[in-house]
């Protein structure tokens, strides 16, 4: 298989297989979660908690606690910067929008490529800083498992290979573009079976958190 064959395979059947695994995997995952159910709360409730649930989805992106804010500033800011950089790159780069258009049928305006380039660099630098933080901070060192480093790598590779492709670094463009798409395939394949699922489940988790507090009349 030469570079062209590789690129053709990975952007055709490769990506299709990865997408199918992603969709099926997430379906199974959500089924596993919601099949468990939750017992009805029989206490005399102060409210349904529905409103508080939705509110917590929004408010939990910020901090309410002065002490934690001071002591987790790095995690907090790095979390924001990395996610914004990554989502900007994924959703606002013109060639990416073309891919989405071919799947869902419509497009949206792209950002100029130099801005995307900057966002990618910021996201990668932030990720490297977060990795350093993970291996040096005592709490993170204690909590971290192999999977934390696997998902870090799975997230970092598409950013790195995308950057390499755009700047024509190290290898031929065809090969690097193939590797870029392959890294996205890997991300999709592993997504439903690792903590990458937080990207989806966190909204439900926040909702339950706010809802259960709201039932008791606790406003977050």
């Amino acid at each position: 298989m030469n570079e062209v064959d590789f690129l053709l395979w990975v952007r055709g059947p490769g990506l299709a297989i990865a997408t199918v695994i992603f969709v099926l995997g997430m379906t199974v995952k959500m089924f596993e979660i919601f099949m468990l159910g939750r017992k009805k709360n029989l206490a005399e409730l102060r409210g349904t908690g529905v409103k508080e649930g939705f509110r917590t989805i929004i408010t939990r992106s910020g901090h309410v606690d002065t002490y934690s804010t001071r002591n987790t500033r790095f995690t907090h800011i790095a979390g924001w910067v990395f996610h914004i950089g990554m989502f900007t790159t994924i959703f606002l780069l013109a060639p990416h929008i073309e891919v989405f258009k071919s799947i869902i049928g419509f497009a949206w305006p792209a950002l100029p490529t130099p801005i995307i380039d900057l966002a990618t660099v910021i996201a990668m630098i932030t990720m490297l800083a977060m990795l350093f933080h993970r291996i040096t901070n005592p709490v993170l060192k204690y909590l971290s498992t192999g999977q934390d480093f696997v998902v870090w790598t799975l997230t970092f590779l598409p950013l790195l290979t995308g950057y390499m492709a755009y700047h024509h670094l190290f290898f031929s463009y065809t090969l690097v573009l193939g590797l870029h798409i392959l890294s996205v395939c890997l991300l999709l394949v592993f997504f439903p079976f690792t903590k990458l699922t937080h990207a989806v489940t966190l909204f439900f988790a926040r909702w339950y958190n706010g809802m259960m507090a709201g039932e008791k009349g606790v406003q977050q």
Partner: protein, 426 residues
């Protein structure tokens, strides 16, 4: 309790795993933010005390039993089973180093209710027999004697007679059809007799009928602290039976945090049906009296005062504004701690920590958080709270740190300023 085994423990854990919990475990990215929200971590810097770590065996069980990858790994013999040794190690994390205060639940960026999970984790710890001696003792006394501290009815009756002699007001026992059933905590009966006197005078002045049940006067519930729903159910049922027998409209939880959670929020779920009566914390009732003009006070405290929010009342209970309304009736110089209300810091002794001798040293370390908070305030002279357990921990902590600051219960503070018009019961 029936014989505790690992198998029973694992079954108990499987039973508590539900949709919210699966979402929480699926969402955790090991960011470590919950550590800085936990006073057991901030005051010791022991990474093992990071809240999410306290449920690690439960997470593994969820993964092995309820996820596709986990089941495949288990079938291939690639997963680490949960053992007695591991649960024994986790006893320190799940009991000694957790007061179920709920602060981690408020800061988790993905929204995990970690406290909810630790409370459920204790069900498996209790069923597998990995529980601290002190809590086993308290639970046994609660079941056999009727109180975790071994307080019996005659002790309460003697206290009631003293109060009657001092105030000339009857303390009603077993009065059918009374509006309110008053519960007490053992700590109040043993250490803070002021509470009973205060409520009897306030209710007398308000002209409200109330009673104590000689069959169920204890409000605390060791069952929810140790994590045994069976014991918790048995203790809640006593109160429910008494309330139904006396046909009261409302059961009043005393100045005790976890007692409120036990009867107000867990109670109906433990017995499997809604209560035919309301459950209110004493501060909720007093605030209603205030709003109806039934609680009148005179004079003000000159001292600069602050209020320590009991975790189970605010974050886990939704009683936030009432103590402030009440305190403002009698305090002219009331200042809030930096993190207060739903973001207050725990006293360090809730959730069974105070009954657990293994945690004695740790709970005093944890108290340093409250000490720092008090030091941040300028010249506070009196600390007011509404939980006898918080109160005794704070008193002990202040004494250990040689800080001279009186700690008072809000109900008794209000009673000191009560306008008594000798209203008779209507």
């Amino acid at each position: 309790m029936s014989e505790a085994t690992l198998e029973r423990g694992l079954n108990a854990l499987k039973e508590v795993i539900d949709t919210p919990m699966a979402l929480f475990f699926s969402s955790c990215t090991h960011c470590g933010m919950c550590a800085t929200a936990c006073l057991f971590y901030t005051e010791t810097e022991n990474p093992a005390y990071t809240p999410i770590n306290k449920v690690e065996p439960l997470r593994r069980l969820w993964e092995q039993e309820y996820t596709l990858v986990g089941r495949i790994k288990k079938a291939l013999g690639m997963s680490k089973p949960i053992t007695d040794e591991e649960l024994e190690e986790w006893k320190e994390y799940a009991y000694n180093a957790c007061s179920l205060c709920g602060r981690c639940t408020m800061v988790c960026p993905v929204g995990n209710d970690i406290t909810y999970m630790i409370r459920k984790m204790r069900e498996g710890m209790a069923a597998s027999g990995h529980t601290p001696e002190g809590l086993v003792g308290a639970s046994t006394r609660a079941v056999e004697i009727g109180s975790p501290m071994g307080v019996k009815l005659p002790a309460l009756q003697a206290q009631a007679r003293h109060v009657e002699k001092d105030t000339g007001i009857d303390i009603p026992f077993d009065v059918e059809g009374a509006e309110y059933l008053m519960l007490m905590s053992s700590m109040e009966i043993m250490n803070y007799p002021e509470y009973l006197e205060a409520v009897s005078r306030i209710f007398h002045a308000a002209g409200k009928s109330w009673t104590i049940s000689s069959e169920a006067f204890e409000a605390t519930n060791s069952g929810i602290q140790i994590g045994s729903s069976d014991i918790a159910r048995q203790l809640v049922s006593r109160v429910v039976n008494a309330a139904e027998k006396l046909k009261v409209k409302t059961v009043i939880s005393p100045e005790c945090g976890h007692a409120y959670t036990a009867i107000r929020w867990e109670g109906p779920n433990l017995i499997g049906r809604p209560f035919p009566f309301h459950v209110k914390h004493i501060l909720e009732v007093l605030d209603e009296f205030r709003a109806e003009g039934l609680l009148k006070t005179e004079g003000f405290e000159d001292a600069r005062m602050t209020f320590h929010d009991p975790c189970q009342l605010v974050r886990r209970g939704g009683v936030v504004q009432q103590p402030r309304n009440l305190l403002n009736m009698v305090a002219t110089d009331f200042v809030e701690m930096k993190d207060h209300g739903i973001m207050n810091w725990c006293c360090g002794a809730g959730g069974g920590v105070s009954a657990n001798e293994d945690a004695e040293e740790l709970k005093m370390k944890a108290f340093n958080r409250k000490k720092h908070q008090l030091e941040e305030l300028d010249g506070v002279e009196t600390l007011v709270t509404a939980c006898a357990n918080c109160r005794i921990q704070i008193e002990e902590g202040l004494e250990e740190n040689e800080i001279d600051m009186p700690v008072v219960g809000l109900t008794e503070l209000l009673a000191e300023h009560l306008v008594e018009e000798n209203k008779t019961e209507g």
